[in-house]
Symmetry: C2
Subunit: 113 residues, 2 copies
């Protein structure tokens, strides 16, 4: 399951990216930090992700202790996802990526509406 670079595992960056280095996972972390916690909300905010992929990414984050899953309805069963302490502590990474992207990756205006 884990995508590692075995000889890189002494590096905390490589170990972080093993869990969170996937693009959709980073965007999922962004949306969890933005307060989206229900599957349907996340599916909407992550426009373009498939339900299966979202489900797999959430499961992996749960296995890695980055989110916890909580049922908020039993009939029908519906879950919400809440960031754990490690999950919350990832915010400075997202903030720095946001700052960098805002500064150095301006929105492309290519005439497509």
């Amino acid at each position: 399951m884990k995508r590692t670079y075995e000889s890189q595992q002494t590096c905390p960056i490589a170990r972080s990216l093993d869990v969170l280095g996937d693009r959709w996972t980073m965007l999922l972390m962004r949306d969890l930090h933005n307060g989206h916690c229900r599957f349907a909300d996340l599916l909407r905010s992550l426009d373009g992700i498939s339900p299966n992929l979202l489900s797999a990414r959430l499961k992996r984050l749960e296995e890695e202790g980055i989110v916890t899953r909580r049922l908020y309805s039993v009939h029908p069963p519906r879950a919400e996802y809440v960031l754990t302490e490690p999950g919350q502590a990832f915010k400075p990474v997202l903030d720095q990526i946001t700052a960098w992207g805002s500064r150095f990756r301006p929105v492309e205006t290519n005439g497509v509406s």
Copy 2:
């Protein structure tokens, strides 16, 4: 070439990850920040990457204005790669990932030497 999530392009995180979201690219940025600038050095420090993949990643960073390529020997032709201002400005992202990984992704000790 760009791996985008079209509807995500209003987000600076998504735009950053389009360029730097690949795991090897992040590790390459780490090593460039650590002062490795020659192809052979990078190939060594990124133990596990293939020369072709390293070459492709460097080319992409050059195209995106994140590194510049400079010949330091003409016979034989040998290049070194230097971070531009946008490349240097990525350091806080790496620092935050390092901090998170050091705290929440301790080295696994699984008995494999």
